[in-house]
Every structure is written in structure tokens, then in C-alpha cells.
Symmetry: C2
Subunit: 246 residues, 2 copies
């Protein structure tokens, strides 16, 4: 079993590059950290390119993956880790290539410029829980394989497809496509039918869904604000809308 | 107008202490950062103890508050700021003393060990939006005046009361009190009546609502998981449940 004891090792340098969007694009790989996500990946029969562990975590590795295991010292693990307390296990995975379907059957969430990684990851996790059929990261949205998005998804990327694409180009492909908007020209979400073939578009944290997109929807929906808050967090709005269609 | 040019100034040291739970407890003060929260505080007629600004932000301060203004240099502001890009304006406020009502009329959210500041703050913001009457931070929950909670609340602490207290001691005071649980002994949330006098208990990110609390509720509710996610994020679950009762 290969063992790496220096943070200056060439492989460590390569893996560090996966912390950037550019590095992930070039290699088509991303990283998951921690035992929980490792077990989720194994359960979902994901192909693990490499499993990096400290001595202490070696016993937790499935024997089927021992060929890909590289042992590292605690110090090297600390260099690789993007969380404050290193998780002892770190895996490198291929980013699955998801081709956009020609027609969209089922329930989808479209992200139009959602930039906060915690929000985007939580939306994917909620879409998984609500039995949705996919999440599409539109232009201007955070990279779905950013470490913070991955942490918030909690393994849901293994359960539902994540696509990237241009939202405006695909809007005609949905039976019902709903934007979300704060203005009262939009419809109360509880007024639209709870049908199966739908898409919900969630927008940027500061600016909402872009106006060109809002103009091309079936309807735009709002969630009534009863109190004095200006708006809802985008992931919360997404949760309420997705569960409305469950 | 007082001007502070050194980060070693005694006042700066005092204000830095408000970044800790202990410091806030000792002085009964907390901090809001940025123009948006300052304007929210003004709109809500909050009493501002001190307004700290850089030269550039001075023009944004309401003339009614000029007596409390202290000018600081960009460097000093940077020392005080808890965000990466300093916001140029920083206010010190009293923590409002909220006595728990003897009987609870209306809709409440109880946090039983919610520890992530982003989750807790988002729950307060959602409770505000959903027209709830208060949020109670139970023991083991994050400090509601922690800077990250304050950032996620987005000013909702000015709109609805935030209480602290022992959840077990107050459970008898609600007409309907609902725990949240993942196990199927709980009831689908859509089966309970959408009545006005309710409390919803949200639990710790890892362990959920504690078993002693779950045993003393009217019912425990679950949100159906259709896909393969293990659970929902606690703030998302809170959003779905609160909007069910709207």
C-alpha cells in the first residue's frame, strides 16, 4: 500500500487542485470527505478513484477498495482537508457526466444563479428527499462539486442526477415551469395544481430569478409573507415549494 | 465626533468581546454589521447604543443617531468586522429582555439543541415570514446573538420575540405541541389540524429532538422522505412545517 508522508508529494499537490473549480474541470474529478460520505458512496456503488486515509481510519475502509487506498500521515491529511477538524478519510471520485434529457418527465428544480454553496447543497438534499428527478445548475450558479456544496448535499448527488445547462434554452421542454418571485403579480403557490410534470426555478440570493427567465414561465409563484421579513431564504422557499408538489 | 484610529483602543477591545457568548452575557449587548441591518434596526425603532462607521459610511447614518457615532479608520473597522469584506458600519445594541409569557397564544417554534448558527438564524427568519409569534431557544441551542445567527436572521430579531428557556419546563403551556421525528411512529404532518395555537419543536442537527421532549408532546410529526436522503436539513423541515400552519 502506497504511503505518503510529505505534503509536497506530487499527488497531494494534484488533489489540492481539486479544491478549485478549474482543477475539477480539468480532471473531471471531485472530493468527498469523511466516513459518512464515504459510506454513502459505497452504498450507492459509486466508483471511487482513490481513497486516502490515515492509519487510524484504515480499518473503516471496505476491503473491496483496498487496491485504491493510499495511506497518509495525519499532517498530510490535515493539508488536504477543507474542514477544520480533518475527517481521516478522503475520496476522489469522477464527476458523473449527466446529459440533459431531451424531454423532462417528472419533477425538476432549476437553479438560476444560486451562489451560496450551503443553499445549493441543501436544495439538492431536499430535492432528493422530496423525490424529485433532478436538479439543474444554471449559469451563474455555484459549482455543484464545490466542497461546501458537497458537504451540504450529504450524499444526495449519489441519488439524483445533477445537470448543468442554460436555463433559458430548456424552458420549453417542461409541461409546467414555475418561476419564483416576490412581487404580487405572481400567484400564491397554493393556487397551482399539484401535478407531476413540473419544474421550479429558484433564483439568486440577492436578485432572485432573472427577468428574462420569469417572462418565459407557465406562472410565477410566491410564498405569502405574513410577518415583516423581506423574503425567505432560497433553500427554505425551495423546500416549501418542493413539498407542495409531493 | 469621537474618532478611533488604533485597534488597541479600550473601546475596540470591549467591542471585540461581544464576539463571544461570554462577552455578550456580561454586557447584555450584541453587534449587527452592515448597512442593511442598520437600516432594519432604524426602521424597527431599535435603540442603538453605539454606531461605529468608517468615513465613507458616515453619510449613510441617520442624523438622529449622530450623537452615538464613533468614527474609525478602515483598519480598525477591519479588526472589528467578522465578515471577510468589512461592511463599513457596525452597531452595538442591547439584547432585549424577553420574559416568557405565562401562557402561549399563537404559533411558536422551539429549538431543542439546534446548534448550527445558519440553521437557527434561518429558522427565526422563516418564523417571522410565516407570521409566527416567537422562537424559543432551548438549552443546548446556539446563542441567538452569535454573529452568524444574527447574519442569517436578516433583521427578523427586530420583528418577532426571541426567548430562551428550558423546553421541558414549558411544554404544558401549549394547546398543541408537536415534536419532529424521523421514525414512522410519528404522524405525517399533513394529518394534524392546521390550527392557530401550536408549537413546533425542531431538534439538534445530528440527534434530533431529545427523547424526553418527544415523550411529552401532543404528537410527533414527520415529513415523508420520498427519495433516498436520510433526512431533511432542520431549517428546511422547519420551513415546511411552519408554512403548513400558515
Amino acid at each position: 500500500m502506497e504511503k505518503i508522508t510529505s505534503a509536497k508529494n506530487q499527488k497531494i499537490k494534484q488533489w489540492k487542485k481539486l479544491q478549485t473549480s478549474k482543477g475539477r474541470r480539468e480532471t473531471n474529478q471531485y472530493v468527498i470527505e469523511g466516513e459518512h460520505l464515504y459510506l454513502e458512496a459505497v452504498k450507492s456503488a459509486m466508483i471511487l478513484d482513490t481513497v486516502v486515509v490515515t492509519e487510524k481510519f484504515l480499518s473503516k475502509v471496505n476491503p473491496a477498495h483496498l487496491e485504491q487506498v493510499i495511506l497518509v500521515t495525519d499532517d498530510v491529511m490535515h493539508t488536504l482537508s477543507q474542514t477544520e477538524t480533518s475527517q481521516g478519510i478522503f475520496c476522489i471520485l469522477e464527476i458523473p457526466e449527466q446529459r440533459l434529457p431531451k424531454t423532462f418527465n417528472g419533477k425538476f428544480v432549476l437553479l438560476d444563479g444560486v451562489q451560496d454553496p450551503g443553499n445549493a447543497g441543501t436544495i439538492v438534499r431536499t430535492a432528493d428527499a422530496a423525490g424529485f428527478d433532478g436538479v439543474i445548475f444554471g449559469e451563474g450558479s455555484v459549482d455543484p462539486y464545490n466542497d461546501k456544496v458537497v458537504r451540504s448535499m450529504q450524499g444526495s448527488q449519489f441519488h439524483i442526477p445533477i445537470y448543468r445547462g442554460n436555463i433559458r434554452d430548456m424552458m420549453g421542454e417542461f409541461e409546467y415551469i414555475y418561476g419564483t418571485a416576490l412581487d404580487k403579480n405572481a400567484k400564491d403557490y397554493r393556487e397551482v395544481p399539484q401535478t407531476d410534470n413540473i419544474a421550479v426555478i429558484l433564483g439568486n440570493e440577492g436578485n432572485g430569478v432573472s427577468s428574462e427567465v420569469l417572462e418565459a414561465t407557465t406562472h410565477n409563484l410566491y410564498i405569502p409573507i405574513i410577518g415583516k421579513a423581506e423574503s425567505l431564504n432560497v433553500a427554505i422557499a425551495g423546500g416549501i415549494l418542493m413539498y407542495y408538489f409531493v
